[in-house]
């Protein structure tokens, strides 16, 4: 496993393209428009696996070493628990690095897109997770005075209905920014 496997847009590179107005365009789809979070599922699995393995090792070593009476007997268990802690922390570090890499690639992609747009080129992207303009895709729950995206934290687990013409004039949620 290498670090470049962890983030969704890690292997995004920029190449010269004659058809592009700015001369450069991302080879891969624009992750910042399509992905909900800067982490891929794989980076989550790798981080969670390392953290879980580290925590288990620490737990086992604590259990194994706590009943022993001499420091010499406990030393191997202590070393094991330190290694477990390091593995646990490694999972967190990989998670953060994957996020930073994705955000950095997203910034590069956005900068390239802005350059492309300023030079009159076209940006091909889809807003898979974004609602269409107007009310389409937005929801509201009873008693609410703001519209929300379906995945907004403020409507999770609530009985919601689609926003319709009767809800014209309602403001958008300040959290999900529909």
């Amino acid at each position: 496993m290498v670090l470049s496997d962890l983030a969704p847009g890690d292997d995004t590179t920029y190449r010269s393209d004659g058809a592009s107005a700015s001369g450069y365009r991302p080879v891969r789809a624009r992750e910042y428009l399509t992905a909900r979070e800067p982490w891929s599922a794989r980076s989550g699995i790798v981080a969670a696996a390392l953290a879980t393995a580290g925590a288990v090792v620490v737990g086992v070593c604590w259990y194994g070493g706590s009943d022993l009476r001499t420091a010499e007997d406990q030393a191997p268990w202590l070393i094991g628990s330190v290694i477990g802690t390091a593995v646990f922390a490694l999972g967190g570090v990989l998670w953060v690095i994957a996020g930073f890499r994705s955000v950095r690639h997203g910034m590069r992609q956005l900068a390239a897109d802005k350059r492309e747009f300023a030079l009159g080129g076209r940006i091909t992207g889809s807003r898979d997770h974004a609602p269409a303009s107007g009310h389409a895709g937005l929801v509201i729950a009873s008693g609410m005075v703001r519209t929300h995206r379906p995945d907004c934290l403020l409507v999770l687990g609530k009985q919601v209905r689609a926003v319709g013409p009767a809800d014209d004039g309602l403001e958008g949620c300040g959290v999900c920014l529909p």
């Binding site: 910042y32 994705s102 997203g106």
Partner: protein
């Protein structure tokens, strides 16, 4: 904003604060447990359960807080991208309108030219 809503919307930062406070508490408890012991063999279990657990909790707190910041950055990127696409759509619409106006103008000019020629023909 009430506290429950804040916790739900900022769950990662709330978790980070809880984990960091928990880590500091565990560190303190570990120190309290080990400070009165005379033998290293009695101190090592506190190091493993208190010290290392505290390090793990502090790691969780740091990762959660950094993740929250990265999510904010990602959301900002996404919003800027959507603004860019909206501007592109507006530009496309404007170009289409201008093309349609130009076509209509040229068609109108062509029709008036035919009409003028017809008039000329009639008068001749």
């Amino acid at each position: 904003m009430d506290i429950l809503k804040f916790v739900r919307t900022q769950w990662d930062r709330t978790g980070a604060v809880v984990a960091i406070l928990g880590g500091l508490l565990v560190l303190l408890l570990g120190w309290l447990g080990t400070s009165d012991t005379k033998y290293v063999a009695q101190q090592i279990p506190y190091v493993m359960s208190g010290g290392l657990l505290a390090i793990m909790l502090l790691t969780i707190g740091a990762v959660l807080w950094l993740s929250a910041d990265l999510r904010d950055e990602w959301r900002e990127l996404s919003e800027q991208g959507e603004v860019l696409l909206a501007e592109q759509e507006a530009r496309d619409r404007m170009i289409e309108e201008r093309v349609a106006q130009e076509v209509a103008r040229q068609l109108g000019a062509a029709r008036s030219g035919v009409s003028a020629r017809s008039d000329v023909a009639v008068h001749r």
